[in-house]
């Protein structure tokens, strides 16, 4: 596992994060702090009030157009750190997840329980049942539509048992939901090889990149147009366990786009 250097994470930041967490606990609207699932990206975790994705909550991840793969790729990297906690329930209409691909990224496909559902009502029911079940690392769902009522039900179910709910969906005009955070994940073009330093493999596919934006985050202060936007790069695709490193951090506006290597 690579060590990630936290840029600028001095004593002040640590103290601030601790204070924020305390505040969240004190003023949290009926939401017990059920634990935190770090995203694995230090710069992103810093922005999140709990220092990671809060358990006992619902999180929304939006794909970009027809590009479901980028969002799934991001989610899988989130799951890498979680799967040790227990199986992951994944509810979807068309289970086209490919075991060898998941295994290559380091997520043992055996950890997944796939629930194939034909209707959104079944899918949301399955998610709710999963969120109420302790012992699952996370519950993922890919509904066609998610409205406020349905998302509130999921949020309540997650709160009741401390489950981590992730909803993967297509953007539909940014309808309000009860999710605690909303992310937008899109593919980004990979970097051009630096002559003399890096040589592209074969014909030259470089490390994969995503543009990850945090569009909504309960309990955090927005900066500018959102809560933060990052360019995330795959660390090493040839290794079974892929470690991601942040490239740039636009949340601090002035943070330089420096690759943190590990």
């Amino acid at each position: 596992m690579a060590t990630l250097v936290q840029l600028g994470a001095g004593k002040k930041d640590v103290a601030l994060a601790a204070l924020r967490a305390t505040l969240r606990r004190l003023e949290g609207p009926g939401r017990a702090v059920a634990g935190v699932a770090p995203t694995g990206f230090a710069a992103i975790d810093r922005v999140l009030p709990d220092g990671g994705l809060a358990r006992g909550a619902l999180h929304e991840i939006m794909g970009e157009g027809a590009d479901r793969a980028a969002a799934i790729g991001f989610v899988i990297r989130l799951l890498l750190g979680l799967a040790a906690r227990g199986p992951v329930l994944w509810c979807l209409a068309d289970p086209d997840l490919y075991g060898p691909g998941l295994a290559r990224l380091g997520l043992a496909p055996d950890r997944l329980i796939l629930a194939r559902t034909r209707k959104d009502t079944d899918l949301l029911w399955a998610m709710e049942e999963g969120l109420k079940t302790p012992g699952l690392a996370a519950v993922l769902g890919e509904p066609y539509k998610l409205d406020l009522t349905a998302s509130r039900r999921l949020q309540l179910a997650a709160e009741s048992a401390g489950g981590l709910g992730l909803v993967l969906r297509q953007p539909d005009g940014g309808k309000a939901t009860a999710a605690v955070t909303r992310w937008r994940v899109a593919s980004a073009p990979s970097a051009a090889p630096v002559p003399g330093v890096e040589t592209p493999r074969d014909f030259g596919l470089m490390r994969g990149r995503w543009r990850v934006s945090l569009e909504r985050c309960r309990g955090a202060t927005p900066t500018g147009d959102g809560y933060g936007s990052w360019l995330v790069e795959e660390h090493d695709a040839t290794r079974a366990v892929a470690v991601a490193a942040e490239l740039g951090d636009r949340s601090g506006a002035s943070a330089p786009a420096i690759r943190q290597a590990g």
């Binding site: 199986p87 490919y98 990224l105 496909p109 997944l112 596919l205």
Partner: protein, 496 residues
């Protein structure tokens, strides 16, 4: 066992009822009701003869298919008395009531109850209980027995009771019965004194065998050889019930009973069936399966309770029955998912998902021993235990593979320089993608023992490509490049 005749006569109709079938061009009586039988009509008589005796008859065309269906339903209904019932020929039902008598007062009580309830359903039934299936069969059909009555034979009575009955009662083919009659052997008792040896060459071994079977000298297997351990509980209701709440309460009580029984035996249920016997004779059944053996009443009860809405109570339910169709020792449980985490809570969740979505819709991914991408992994039902031997390290990780794979590769239009270059541009679902970077080819040979499709040469050349937006695809060209034919390209998966 009983004899059944068609009934269902409307109240206004008072004529003797007969059903008529066409046999070899002749109109023949197939069945007659008690009124017609009293007046001398019998099945097998031609319609003309019957008309000569009784000009006023209510004729109904025989409906063998409908009869068979009704008989099957009736046999099902008999499941209220014993779990082992089966249809016998066109007009009988076997009930193996071995071990069921403690549930009722006596064999006679059971048989009388059966006949009385059958009468309520409109069936004229005759029942006989005997030590051997053969004796019961003969007595129910050929003994001097008024309709809707029963006869119980025990021990030494069998031989005496069978003696005056016609030889047809031995379940013999009609030709053999005719031959026996010609020789003056009309009653079963006539055969008692005969030496077995000369019987066989003349009539085949059937006569001696059937006789011995009826008398209990030869064992006749009618039920599975394994003894049926009745993992079954039932409750006869004082008042018919019809609300889902009442059914659920009844189910809870039965579940507690059954689970206690299973617990004592150290067993858990894998399949359960809950049957509701309605007052109109229909049986409503719901069934569930579990991912691992369980005898937790709350868990199993919840699975079944979710299906109670599928039960149509009709005019009411008078008997509830819960039965474990498949049980397994609790110690031998195994589930592909890591046992230590799934012990407490996840297995019940899986069962609940399978219960609502169907077992084939709750899946896990298992590796398959194939290098053909679409065959290297498979989604199988979590409840399917056949893949438990597969280990996580069986997953191939040596080469980059997409996280989503299309079950059927999508044909794409491609601009590729020849001969072995990755594409420069491709069009998938009418959207053009300009390829920015590419990697490949990785040549995958199709399995040689399968017949290659025409033009595939048995190989595929796979490329990983990245488009301008950074999206990554897995494309392949089918077959070797041939200048004379345009190459066929496909999109097979997505990287992330």
């Amino acid at each position: 066992m009983h004899r059944r005749q068609r009934s269902g006569k409307p109240a206004s109709e008072t004529l003797p009822l007969v059903t008529v079938a066409d046999i070899a061009g002749r109109r023949v009586l197939a069945a007659v009701d008690p009124a017609a039988a009293l007046l001398g009509l019998a099945p097998g008589m031609s319609l003309a003869d019957a008309r000569a005796r009784l000009p006023d008859l209510w004729l109904v065309d025989a409906d063998p298919a409908g009869d068979a269906k009704a008989l099957a339903a009736f046999s099902d209904w008999c499941g209220r008395f014993t779990p082992w019932t089966s249809v016998d020929g066109a007009d009988g039902v076997w009930l193996d009531i071995t071990g069921c008598v403690p549930l009722v007062e006596s064999e006679a009580a059971l048989a009388l109850d059966l006949v009385a309830r059958a009468a309520q359903l409109g069936f004229t039934a005759r029942a006989a209980v005997a030590d051997t299936p053969g004796a019961a069969w003969a007595v129910a059909r050929y003994a001097e027995l008024p309709a809707t009555s029963v006869r119980i034979l025990g021990g030494s009575e069998t031989r005496m009771a069978l003696a005056p009955l016609p030889v047809a009662g031995l379940r013999l083919p009609a030709e053999i019965v005719q031959d026996l009659k010609r020789l003056g052997l009309k009653q079963i008792g006539d055969l008692y004194g005969m030496a077995r040896a000369p019987l066989a060459p003349r009539f085949g071994e059937a006569v001696a065998r059937r006789l011995d079977q009826a008398l209990g000298l030869l064992e006749e297997p009618i039920s599975p050889r394994q003894p049926i351990v009745p993992r079954l509980v039932r409750r006869i209701l004082a008042e018919p019930i019809s609300t889902p709440e009442a059914i659920e309460i009844g189910l809870e009580q039965l579940m507690a009973l059954l689970c206690r029984q299973l617990e004592e035996e150290g067993l858990g249920a894998r399949q359960l069936e809950f049957a509701c016997f309605r007052v109109d004779g229909r049986v409503e059944r719901i069934a569930i399966g579990t991912s691992r053996p369980s005898h937790a009443p709350a868990h199993l009860g919840r699975l079944l309770a979710e299906k109670i809405c599928q039960i149509a109570p009709g005019f009411g339910i008078e008997l509830l029955q819960l039965r474990a169709l498949a049980v397994e020792p609790l110690a031998a449980q195994q589930l592909g998912l890591d046992a230590k985490e799934t012990d407490g809570t996840v297995a019940p969740l899986v069962d609940r998902l399978a219960n609502r979505l169907g077992a084939r819709n709750v899946l896990r991914l298992v590796p398959e021993n194939s290098h053909l991408p679409e065959r290297a992994a498979r989604a199988v039902s979590v409840l399917d235990g056949r893949h438990d031997a597969k280990r996580p390290q069986d997953w191939p990780v040596a080469r980059p593979r997409p996280i989503r794979l299309l079950a059927y590769p999508d044909p794409i239009e491609v601009m590729a320089p020849v001969p072995d270059d990755p594409p420069l541009m491709f069009r998938w679902r009418r959207v053009p993608h300009r390829v920015r970077r590419a990697e490949g080819p990785e040549r995958i040979a199709l399995e040689w023992w399968r017949e290659p499709e025409a033009g595939t040469d048995g190989i595929r050349d796979y490329y990983r490509v990245e488009d301008e937006a950074g999206r990554r695809f897995w494309l392949y060209r089918r077959g070797l490049y041939r200048p004379e034919t345009p190459p066929a390209w496909f999109l097979h998966g997505f990287f992330a």
